[in-house]
């Protein structure tokens, strides 16, 4: 700047001064001794110190207390203005100064050296301004930045959690799928109920057992028909194990129940149930299992029957042997006695009676104890004659009860059969009818040529043995041909009708019964002409 005339200098000084005082930024100048030589209006305003107070003071007197970020005081050793003067390089710094009133001011400082026309450094000029807004903005930006980082981190975490949850859900879903498949494939019927006992799920096996399923509330339980195997009583809705599990927390194991399925079949099942509880121990539902044991039951029943039969057979054989010996001895004695000439007519008659009685005893031994053998000799048998002879066995009882025996058959009716077994068969049925008849009752016997019922139309005979006695209780109808089934409390072994049925079947025939309680019973037996035609 080569305009160094006094007139110009004065004018330019005035101009400069006005300019400087009108600046927005604070300005101050230092000489080489760091004395403040100029302090503009903006500086006064910003710092609170007026020019008079600071002019002539050294900046290293620390009036302004310039400190940096870390609180380190700069004015003594680290003054930006001094650095600018010393190095000739402009200095920029963001620092704090102390306002006259004592509060801290955040300022941006720009210091540069002043040179004369010869380029010699004669002082420094510092421009500073309030950068608190800038600082605030910076801080806000930083805060935002930090917040953003945190958000990012949170997002990442949520992302991971979500992925994890998805994995877990998939695993759960797979696991549920497995469980459902397992339950559906179990060979045991499974039912679920909810906490109220409503039936909500039935697996394939259960539906197979019951021929379907009924869902819904406890009133649906009545749709499931069952009877306790031990008592024969119907299972009431509230007696079902499912109900007890849900209401009382009861666990039931393998209750034997006879059921009638939705498609009308009769089966036997094991019924079990247990309650399901949540982590607090409250009942949230029940699980029921049903196992079809019909086969097993029948198998077991058959086995027990055979064993009973075998042991009964053994016992009967032993008893028979024991009593037959004395019977033979008595018969022989009577025979010898009967031939004794010293007997008078009355004595001889008595011998005859005794003989008859013993004969009856022998007969009973043969028929009652000699049941079911594999002797299968068939011969031509006169069925009508056998029937007559069988009635004779019960002549005493028939007479005592004034039973009218109505024989409606032609005398000669033949089939090829085992005579002994037919005798046994007729004796059984006639015995039952005679027992059932009231005083003055009627026993009907009939034999006619016949072609078998149904498709076969085999030729043979139909034998009818009927009475007008008390009849068969309908509840027992389905049991009467079973071995060891008897309604007579003191007499009988329950084998009569079973043996009778077996004999008829062995001959390739069929046996039927009709009965009306209080009115009477009719047995009808068909025997084919010969076993060959019976094709058994």
């Amino acid at each position: 700047m080569d305009q160094d005339t006094p007139a110009l200098r004065g004018k330019s000084d005035e101009f400069c001064k006005q300019l400087m005082d009108n600046l927005h930024d604070a300005v101050y100048c230092l000489d080489r001794e760091r004395r403040i030589t100029y302090w503009n209006k903006a500086a006064e305003k910003l710092t609170g110190y007026c020019a008079q107070e600071v002019l002539g003071t050294k900046c290293n007197d620390n009036v302004l207390v310039h400190v940096d970020e870390s609180g380190y005081q700069l004015c003594k050793e680290d003054c930006p203005a001094s650095h600018a003067m010393a190095s000739g390089v402009p200095q920029n710094k963001d620092i704090y100064l102390r306002h006259k009133l004592g509060h801290k001011l955040s300022v941006s400082v720009h210091a540069s050296s002043l040179v004369d026309s010869q380029g010699r450094i004669v002082g420094a000029v510092e421009v500073f301004s309030d950068n608190s807004q800038k600082r605030e903005a910076q801080e806000q930006a930083k805060a935002l930045g930090d917040a953003l980082k945190e958000l990012d981190a949170t997002c990442a975490r949520l992302h991971t959690e979500l992925a994890e949850r998805k994995r877990v859900e998939e695993a759960l879903s797979r696991s549920e799928g497995h469980l459902r498949t397992i339950v559906d494939n179990l060979p045991i019927g499974v039912l679920f109920t909810d906490a109220q006992g409503n039936l909500i799920f039935a697996n394939a096996a259960l539906q197979q057992i019951w021929g379907g399923a009924r869902f819904g509330g406890v009133e649906q339980y009545a749709a499931y028909k069952g009877w306790w195997a031990s008592t024969g009583k119907q299972v009431k809705a509230e007696e079902w194990a499912a109900y007890r599990a849900v209401r009382n927390g009861e666990t039931s194991v393998n209750e034997v129940i006879e059921i009638e399925t939705f498609d009308g079949q009769r089966k036997t099942i094991f019924n079990s149930a247990f309650p399901v509880r949540d982590e607090k121990g409250r009942i949230v539902g029940a699980v029921v299992t049903n196992e079809d044991i019909t086969e097993r039951q029948h198998g077991q029943e058959s086995l027990i029957r055979s064993e009973k039969l075998a042991s009964a057979g053994r016992m009967a054989a032993t008893i028979a042997h024991e009593i037959n010996n004395p019977i033979a001895a008595v018969m022989n004695l009577l025979y010898v006695l009967g031939a004794n000439p010293s007997l008078d007519a009355d004595a001889a008659k008595l011998i005859t009676v005794i003989d008859e009685e013993i004969g009856r005893l022998a007969n009973i031994s043969r028929t009652t104890l000699g049941f079911y053998r594999n002797d299968s000799d068939h011969s031509v048998v006169n069925v009508a004659k056998l029937l007559d002879e069988a009635v004779e066995l019960y002549s005493r009882k028939v007479q005592e009860n004034s039973i009218y025996v109505d024989r409606r058959h032609v005398t000669e009716q033949f089939v090829s059969a085992n005579e002994g077994e037919l005798r046994h068969l007729f004796a059984n049925l006639i015995s039952n009818s005679v027992d059932a008849c009231p005083s003055g009752g009627r026993l009907l016997l009939r034999v006619i040529p016949f072609r078998e019922w149904g498709n076969s139309q085999k030729p043979g005979l139909k034998i009818t043995i009927a009475d007008n006695g008390r009849g068969i209780d309908p509840r027992h109808r389905r049991n009467i041909f079973e071995p060891f089934f008897t309604t007579k409390e003191t007499v009988g072994n329950g084998l009569g009708l079973w043996v009778s049925k077996t004999i008829v079947q062995k001959h390739g025939g069929t046996i039927r019964v009709r009965s009306s309680q209080g009115r009477g019973t009719v047995f009808q037996i068909f025997l084919p002409k010969s076993r060959a035609e019976g094709a058994f």
């Binding site: 028979a320 042997h321 024991e322 037959n324 010996n325 001895a329 022989n332 025979y335 022998a362 043969r366």
Partner: protein, 123 residues
């Protein structure tokens, strides 16, 4: 009442004395000569040393069964018919070693008829 032509000799075996005795009486009343034994050993002795036309034996004997006795006897004299008479209602196992089974529930006339029938069949 069937009676054999010549007086055949029957050997009766039973370990029950009264039963044995009364069977003897019945058979004798039909005209047979009756030898008796109450066990297998005695029966075998008599069987081997005497001329016997038929043996009528109980099944359950003190020292063995009637079937076992029959088997032994058949080895000695296979032509002599052997009857097993027993309280059993069904013939025991091994009847192929004997000729006829009679149950003790048969009346005396029935027994005599069957014995005569068997003897006649043979002669």
């Amino acid at each position: 009442m069937a009676i054999a032509r010549c007086k055949p000799t029957l050997l009766c075996v039973d370990d029950n004395q009264p039963a044995l005795h009364v069977r003897q009486l019945v058979l004798e009343s039909a005209g047979y000569t009756v030898l008796v034994a109450s066990d297998s050993a005695t029966a075998m002795e008599i069987f081997s040393s005497s001329a016997v036309n038929m043996v009528v034996s109980d099944h359950f004997l003190r020292d063995g069964t009637g079937i076992e006795l029959a088997t032994a006897m058949k080895k000695l004299k296979p032509d002599v018919p052997i009857v097993i008479i027993s309280g059993l209602l069904n013939a025991p196992e091994g009847m192929e070693h004997a000729d006829l089974f009679i149950c003790k529930t048969d009346s005396p006339p029935q027994v005599l008829e069957k014995i005569a029938g068997l003897l006649n069949g043979r002669s």
